[in-house]
Amino acid sequence: MLRALNTVLMLVTLASAVGLYVVKYDTRRLEARVQAQERALEKAENDVAVLMAERAYLARPERLEPLARALGLGPLSRHNYAAQAPAGERQP
């Protein structure tokens, strides 16, 4: 009776040791994955920042102005404003 109990307990101990081992390595793998994801996120954020900076650089007024002028555009003058009819008379 006691022997059977001992055997069972021994088996349980062994099983839980194996279980612990598996869980521990799973955790380590997960941690590694989390870290990898964090690094990827950091990299993505930095890539986004670089792209935003590049977009701002390309859209800087200093560059756009000559391009716009080359297209025949210019600063808005008062002649570009049309008199607006009152709301009731507006065409559909």
């Binding site: 701002a56 650089y57 800087r60 007024p61 600063p75 008062r78 404003y81």
Partner: protein, 574 residues
């Protein structure tokens, strides 16, 4: 019975087995024990030997291990304009460091590296790598990716990269003065960047983690900023000025839509003092634009109304000084309104004299012109007040001399005078102006009178601001031509020519202040007075910037009736 004899036979092996093992045991176990002992002793011997070797080994000297904070960098929030357009951000860039201990040939490494990095001399690098005990030396921080690749291709041992955050300004010099700059550790050292540090909005980070803080939204509109920069540059060139500055701010909230100081600065490079922001870092005697304040004080304190007449023909003698008007003038006594239009120094001095030193000082204090002020957290140069506020000082301050101010501080006071009389504090932060407590500095009636004379100064035939008119925008403003103090008194040829304006004048939305430092005469500008340089420059600026700021022109411009003079009309009297 055959069974009994089998018993001893069967027993014999049972009995002999323990005997056999008892005799074989000592024989088999002893060598194993001895072997284990031997292994242990050998291991102990190795450890002791190693200890003895380490103890015996000659030590070069007591070594100090210096920890260098290699990974600490400051992450800063983005800076965006009022419409969310990016002005400054952090990006990861490679930084080069060296481990001299691992270098094979320091001379070779220094020479090869100097070829690739144009900013470095081989001798300088050699010095950097000379101490082989140092395990970490920064070589170049914030390299361009292409440069980093070329260093990498050299394949030198002992050189490696770390990625670091670096502040970048994609718009180049645009709004450089306002933005300020940062040092190599990404800490703010001037302008708004310094303010971000002072406000605790930067985070010390390891690696490339970026701060999660919200972006700093400015009241600056980069399109207006660009337009103002362009127009001011062309004005500076046209009037051959040594420097120029201009600001456009919201008349109601004090939010700055654009602020330029020429020559420009690049935020990516450290500020040099010769290019300091003239709007906040310097104080100047502003000259006649200050008459707006004098007239406002006269009206507010009940000393005069716009029709009160002063005899300005004789000049004003105070002690050993005599104040005279530079031009001939109309040669008759002038009303306050006319004093403003003709920009009569004598008239302004007489009015100031009647106000008196005490009340003048108190009025300036109410407008915040005598106190230290700040643009958000950026310090503005302290106003330079007269040491002794006597009769002569009262008179000269009446026309803007004897009191030196940072132009931005004056622009704020001017906005308070024209917006209906509510105190305005200039700010660079979007939404900040509205939150501030609105205290009344002058009555609505005084503010209306001021708007009236400012508009008249532009529409009237003899007004000095005639050439600041922009059809449809109902500009009102005042000229100022202040001689700059030099050796042995004021210099006639070196002036600060300025124009302060508001538009549209019936309900001002924006205030502008344009300053040209030491403009020269030239074709179309026979004189160096503000009516022929700063005035027309303001017109061009307003015409260009107003539509960007959403102020649309109105064809039925009230408050004058006269057709405005074109920019190239002959120069009126200053």
């Amino acid at each position: 019975m055959p069974a009994p004899p089998t018993q001893p036979r069967a027993r014999a092996p049972v009995q002999s087995a323990p005997r056999a093992s008892a005799t074989a045991g000592p024989v088999n176990l002893r060598p194993r024990l001895l072997a284990a002992l031997g292994v242990l002793l050998a291991a102990l011997g190795v450890v002791s030997g190693q200890l003895v070797r380490l103890a015996m080994k000659e030590q070069p000297e007591a070594r100090v291990s210096m920890a260098e904070p290699i990974a600490r960098i400051w992450s800063r929030p983005d800076i965006v304009d009022r419409h969310g357009r990016l002005i400054a951000t952090d990006v990861a860039t490679p930084s080069l460091y060296a481990d001299p201990h691992l270098m094979l040939d320091i001379d070779e490494a220094a020479e090869k590296l100097a070829e690739v990095l144009p900013n470095f001399e081989a001798a300088e690098l050699r010095r950097l790598f000379a101490d082989r005990n140092r395990r970490f030396v920064w070589v170049a921080r914030g390299l361009a990716p292409r440069q980093a690749q070329r260093v990498h291709e050299l394949g030198l041992p002992g050189l490696a990269f770390r990625s670091e955050l670096k502040r970048v300004y994609p718009l180049g010099t645009l709004a450089g003065h306002v933005i300020g700059s940062v040092n190599t550790d990404n800490r703010g050292i001037s302008g708004l960047e310094r303010m971000l540090d002072a406000a605790g909005r930067v985070e010390a980070v390891q690696g490339l983690a970026r701060t999660s803080g919200p972006a700093l939204r400015l009241s600056i509109d980069i399109a207006a900023q660009h337009a103002l920069t362009q127009e001011l540059k062309s004005a500076k060139e046209r009037y051959r000025a040594a420097a120029a500055a201009a600001v456009i701010l919201d008349a109601g909230t004090g939010e700055i839509a654009a602020a330029v100081s020429l020559p420009e600065v690049d935020p990516a490079h450290w500020l040099d003092t010769a290019r300091a922001d003239r709007l906040v870092a310097g104080v100047y005697e502003l000259g006649s634009i200050f008459k707006v304040v004098t007239v406002a004080a006269g009206l507010e304190l009940g000393v005069a109304d716009l029709d009160k007449v002063y005899d300005v023909r004789q000049g004003l003698a105070i002690g050993q000084y005599t104040i005279k008007d530079p031009g001939s003038g109309p040669g008759r006594p002038l009303s306050v309104r006319e004093i403003f239009l003709h920009s009569s120094n004598v008239g302004a001095a007489l009015l100031a004299q009647e106000i008196g030193a005490e009340r003048q000082r108190a009025f300036l204090a109410r407008l915040g012109l005598t106190d230290t002020s700040r643009l958000d957290l950026i310090p503005i140069a302290n106003p330079l007040l007269p040491r002794q506020w006597g009769a002569i000082e009262t008179a000269t301050i009446g026309f803007g001399h004897g009191l030196a101010l940072a132009p931005l501080q004056f622009a704020g006071a001017f906005a308070s005078l024209v917006n209906g009389g509510l105190m305005v504090t200039p700010t660079l932060l979007a939404g900040e102006g509205e939150a501030k407590a609105q205290t009344r500095v002058v009555s609505a009636a005084t503010s209306e009178r001021i708007r009236e004379v400012l508009r008249l100064n532009v529409t009237h035939a003899s007004g000095t601001g005639r050439r600041a008119e922009v059809e449809g925008y109902r500009v009102g403003g005042k000229t100022g031509t202040a001689e700059m103090p030099g050796r042995g008194g004021y210099q006639e040829k070196a002036v600060i020519s300025s124009f302060v304006a508001a538009f549209p004048m019936d309900a001002p939305r924006y205030v502008s202040l344009v300053l040209l430092f030491e403009p020269q005469t030239g074709e179309g500008t026979p004189r160096i007075v503000a009516s022929v340089n700063a005035g027309p420059a303001t017109a061009r600026i307003i015409e260009r910037v107003a539509p960007i700021l959403g102020v649309s022109p109105r064809s039925d411009a009230p408050g004058g009736g006269r057709a405005p003079a074109p920019f190239d009309a002959p120069a009126p009297a200053q």
